[in-house]
Amino acid sequence: MRGPGHPALEATTTPFKEISLSRMKDLLLKGLPPEQRAKGALVLLAIVGVLILAKPFNLIPDFLDELPQHTYQSSINKEIQEIKRTELVPIGAALEWTFYYLRDDLHVSVVTRFFSTSLKALVDVVHNILSGGRKGFGLDAPPWSALLVIALTLGYALKGWRLSLLGGGTVCYFAIFGLWTYAMTTLAYLAVAVPISIIIGLFLGIWCYKKKSVEVSILPILSVAQTMPHFAYLIAVVVFFGIGHQTGVIATIIFAVPPMVRLTLLGLQTISPEIVEAGKMAGCTSRQLLFRVQLPSARNEIMIGINQVIMQCLAMVVIAAFIGADGLGFRLLHKLIALKLGECVEIGFAIVLLALVLDGLSKAWAEKKRDYRANLPFYRRYKYSILLVVLVAIAYILASYFPILNKIPRDLDITYAKSWDGFIDWTVVNWQTRDFRYIMLVHILTPLRDALLFMPFIAIMVLVAGVGLLLGGYYSALLTLGFLLFIALAGWWDRAMITLYMVLFSTFICIVVGIPLGLWSAMREKRARTALFWCDTFQTFPSFIYIIPAIMLFRVNDFTAIMAVVAYAMVPAVRYTVEGLKNIPPELHEAVTMAGCNKRQRLLQLQLPVALPHIMLGVNQTVMFAFSMVIIAAFVGTIDLGQSIFKALSETALGKGVTLGLCVSFMALTVDHLVVRWARERRRLLGLD
C-alpha cells in the first residue's frame, strides 16, 4: 500500500476539494496510504465530534441516537429497569426458532443424543477406572500412592526432577486436602475431551490444508468460535445435549478444537516446499506423504496445538461447572457462590497445580528427543516403563498394608482454608481498598461508562467504520459496520457499551502497566527470560482462577471485575513487548550503537518503532483476553452483556444467549480485524516479514 511518488507532498499541495476521483477510488479499495492517515483521522474525528456535540442540541434524530433495546440502564444507581421495548430485528427469536426447528422438527436431537450418550459412556468408563466406580471385579479405585509414583516417574522421564516433584506434589495436594474425588472427575473429563479434540482438530486442519474452499469457509467460523464467550456456548450445548457430565465434555471439545485446527494448518502450510518435493521424489503415495512427511514435519506446531488443547480443556472444564459438570470446577463454583474464599483458594491452587503439571508434561513430551536406533538392550531402552511398573506394583502392595497410602481418610479434614480466611479478614481490616475503590468507581469508571452510553450510536458506528475505511478500504469498513450493526439491531447496544467500557479501561491499564514492564524486562537478557517464564506460567492458569484474588481484595463490584480482567489480560501485553524487542535484528542494534545513540534514543528511535507492530499484536491479544474475561467476570456482578448471558444461561434462553454471545464475539472481531490489519501492513513496510 505504498503511495505513488511522494503522496505526502502531494497531499499538502493539493487543495482539499480537488481530491480526484481516482484517489477516492483508491480510498475505497485500499484505504489511505500510511502517510495520509493522520489527516484522514483528523477529518474522521471532526465528523464524530460534530455528531456527539449535536446530541445535546437535539439535532440527532432518535433513531440515530438509540435503537430500540432490551433494557435500559439508568446511570445513577445500579438498578436495572426492564423497559420492554423489543429489538428492531428479532435476531434472538429467529436464532431460537432455527435451533428449536433443527432440534425438534428435523430431529437433529437424535444425532446429538447419540453423541451425548456415547460421550457419557466414555467419561463413565474412565471415571470408573480412576475412582473405583461400581467395583465390578472387586476392583477399587487405584491407591493415590500409585498415581503419585506415576506422576513422579513420568515427570522425571520426560524432563527431570523438577517436573517430577511438581507432579508428585500435585498428586499429594489432591490427596491431602480431600480433593481426590473431584480431581479424578476432572481428569476423567480431560482424558476424554483432550484426545477427541486433538483428533477432530487434526482432521479439520488437514482438510483445510487440502481444500482451499474448506479453509475459506471454516476459518471465519473458528474466529467466531474462539471469541464467543464460553457461557454462550453452554446454552446451545445444553439445548442440544442436555445437562450433565457429557455436556461439559462437549462444550470443552468445541472450545478446544479451533486452536488445534489453526496450528495444524499453520504447521502444514509452513513446511518448506522442497521437503514435500523430496517426499514425492522418494515415491510417496499421497497418504505416505501426509503421514510420513507432512505431519511429522509440522510436528512443532502440532505439539503446540496439543498443549493448547490441554490448556483450553482445563479452562473449560472449570467453566463447564456452570452446567453441572462435576469435578474441581464445580467444587470451586460452589464455594465461590457461598463466598467461602479460603476454600476457594485451596481449590484454586489445586487447579493451578494441575494446569502447571499438564502444561509441563505435554511440553516436555513435545520437546523430548527420541533416540531411534541407539541399539540399547531391552531393559535400558524401556527403563522408565519398567521402573513405572515396578513402582506401581510396590505402591499397590504397600497400600494394601498401610491404608493411609490407599486413601487419605476424609475425616482427617486437613485444610488450610481457615488460615486464608483469617488472612482475608485481616486484609479487609488493614488494607483499606474501600476508598480506592470508591474513587475509581465514582470519579473514573462511572463517568467513562456514562460517556460511552451518552454517545449516539451513529457516532460510534461512523468512528469504527471510518477507521476501517482508512486502514483497509471498503472491505474493512463494511465488515466492521456489519459487526456493529448486528449489535445495534439485536437490541443490546447499551449493554455492549458497558462491556466495551470495561474492556477499554482494562486494556488501558494493561497497556500502561504491561508495556513499560515489558520494556524494562527486555533490557536484560536474563530479566527477559524470567518475564517470559512468568508469562508462560500465568497463561496456563484457567481464566476463572483470576476471579478469586480479585474478590479477595475488592469484594464484589465492577471494579473487581475490571481487576480480574486486568490480571488475566496483562500477560500478552508484557509477553509481546518483550518478544517484539528481543526480535529486533542484532545488526540494527549494532548500527544504532555505531551511530552513537544513547539509551533513550535507542528506545525511541529503534526499539519502539520497530517493535511496535508486534506490541500492537500483543495489545490486540490483551483486548481479546479482556473480552473473554469480562464475560466470566460478570459472575461477580456487572451489568453488561455478561450478566445478560448469565441470565440467559439460567433461563436456557437459547436465542438470547447466542445473540449475546455473537455480540461479544463481533466486538472482539472488530478490534481484531483492525489491529491485525494495521500490524501486518506495518510489519511489511518495515520489512520484518
Binding site: S272, G283, C284, T285, R373
Partner: protein
C-alpha cells in the same frame, strides 16, 4: 554428442510451463509451439519457454542460468513435480506426462533420484532413516533397507553419523545425506537442483570433487542445475544455458567458451580462464604434410592449462594423439599464445 545413435534417456520437446493460465486457454500450432499472444495477459509468467533437449545415457547435462531463468522449474517439470503446461517428456521412451499417479510413483521409486538446494531432509528422522526413506516407501524389509542405507552412508563418507539428526550436521554433511538419499534406490536418472549453492566455497569445491568421484563410479544420467558458470564448466559433459525460460545455447563446455551463440552467453564466457576449459583437441590445427613434429605428444583431452608450458617451449609443432595413439592434429606455439593471451571479451571466432 557421441551417442546420437542411441535413444536418449530423457527427451523433452517444445516444453512450456506458463503460470497463471490453463493449457486450454492457449493456441498451439502443429509443432506444439504456443501462440505468444497470451503473454500480454496480466499475471501470466512464462517460466519454461519452448525448451527441447535430449540427455543421453550416462551423460551429465548441466543447466546453467541465473535466478528466475526457469532452470528449477525445468527440472521439476522433468520429474513432474510441476505439471508442464504443454510439450512432451519421454523417459526411456515412455511418455511421462501420460503416466497415471501410480505409474509416476513407480517411476520415482525406481528410476529417479533428486537432490535439493536446501537439502530437504526430514527433520524428525536420523541420517539413516532419511536415507532409508525412499526404500521404506517401496516397502523394503527393515534388515534390507538398513543394510542398503549403511552402504550409502559409507559411499558418501558419513560413517558413524547414522544416528545423528540433520540439525546436528554441518551443511556439507547434510547435503551428503541428501545425495545418499537420492542414490539409495539406485536410480538411473539423477536430478540435482543447485545442490552445492547453499554451501561455503571451500566445502563446495570439496563436494564438487566428491560428486565427480561418485559420477565416475556410478555413470548416472544426470541433469544438474546451477547458477555458477564455473561449476558448470567443471562438471558438465554438456551445458545448457537458460535465459528467460529459453535455452540460449547447448553444447560442450569448450564449444560454448570458444563459440558463444549469443551476447548473453558471451557475458559468461568472457571471464572464463580458457586454459582451464579448452582441451588440446578443441584448439589443435590440422597436421600439414611432412611437418617436423616435437618428439613428445600430448593427448587430445588434455587441458590447455596442463600442456601450455610444454607447447610454448617447443619451436616446432607438438603432435596431438587420440586414445589409440594416432596423431589427429598439431598444436603450434603461436596458436597457444593466442589462446592464452588473446583478449577475452566478446565472442571471438576460432
Amino acid at each position: 554428442m557421441n551417442t546420437t545413435s542411441l535413444q536418449p534417456v530423457i527427451r523433452c520437446q517444445t516444453l512450456y510451463k506458463i503460470f497463471g493460465i490453463t493449457s486450454d486457454q492457449l493456441q498451439k500450432d502443429s509443432q506444439g509451439l504456443i501462440d505468444p499472444s497470451y503473454r500480454d495477459r496480466q499475471g501470466v509468467v512464462t517460466a519454461v519457454d519452448n525448451v527441447s533437449l535430449d540427455v543421453s545415457d550416462g551423460e551429465l547435462l548441466v543447466v546453467m542460468g541465473l535466478s528466475g531463468s526457469g532452470k528449477s522449474t525445468l527440472v521439476r517439470c522433468l520429474s513432474r513435480l510441476i505439471e508442464p503446461t504443454s510439450g512432451s517428456i519421454e523417459i526411456e521412451g515412455n511418455d511421462v506426462l501420460a503416466m497415471s499417479e501410480k505409474e509416476l510413483i513407480e517411476l520415482r521409486r525406481n528410476k529417479m533420484g533428486m537432490v535439493f538446494q536446501n537439502f530437504a531432509l526430514l527433520p524428525h528422522k536420523t541420517v539413516l532413516e532419511n536415507i532409508a526413506f525412499p526404500l521404506q516407501m517401496r516397502g523394503m524389509k527393515r534388515a534390507e533397507f538398513v543394510e542398503r542405507a549403511m552402504k550409502m552412508i559409507a559411499l558418501v563418507g558419513l560413517d558413524e553419523k547414522e544416528n545423528s539428526f540433520p540439525r546436528e550436521l554441518s551443511g556439507g554433511q547434510q547435503q551428503r545425506v541428501g545425495i545418499a538419499r537420492s542414490l539409495a534406490v539406485e536410480p538411473d536418472i539423477w536430478f540435482l537442483d543447485e545442490p552445492f549453492s547453499a554451501l561455503d566455497p571451500l566445502i563446495r569445491k570439496e563436494m564438487q570433487d566428491e560428486f565427480l568421484r561418485l559420477q565416475s563410479m556410478l555413470k548416472k544420467t544426470i541433469v544438474f542445475i546451477t547458477h555458477d558458470f564455473d561449476e558448470a564448466l567443471k562438471l558438465a559433459d554438456r551445458i545448457a544455458i537458460m535465459y528467460h525460460g529459453n535455452i540460449e545455447q547447448i553444447g560442450r563446455p569448450e564449444d560454448i567458451v570458444l563459440n558463444p551463440a549469443t551476447e548473453y552467453v558471451a557475458k559468461f564466457t568472457s571471464d572464463v580462464p580458457r586454459e582451464k576449459v579448452l582441451t588440446a583437441g578443441s584448439v589443435m590445427d590440422e597436421r600439414k604434410e611432412q611437418e617436423a613434429l616435437a618428439s613428445k605428444s600430448v593427448r587430445i583431452d588434455d587441458l590447455v592449462e596442463t600442456i601450455a608450458e610444454y607447447v610454448l617451449g617447443q619451436s616446432i609443432p607438438v603432435p596431438v594423439v587420440d586414445a589409440q595413439d594416432q596423431i589427429v592434429g598439431v598444436l603450434h606455439q603461436a596458436r597457444m599464445l593466442e589462446i592464452l593471451f588473446h583478449e577475452r571479451a566478446g565472442p571471438s571466432g576460432s
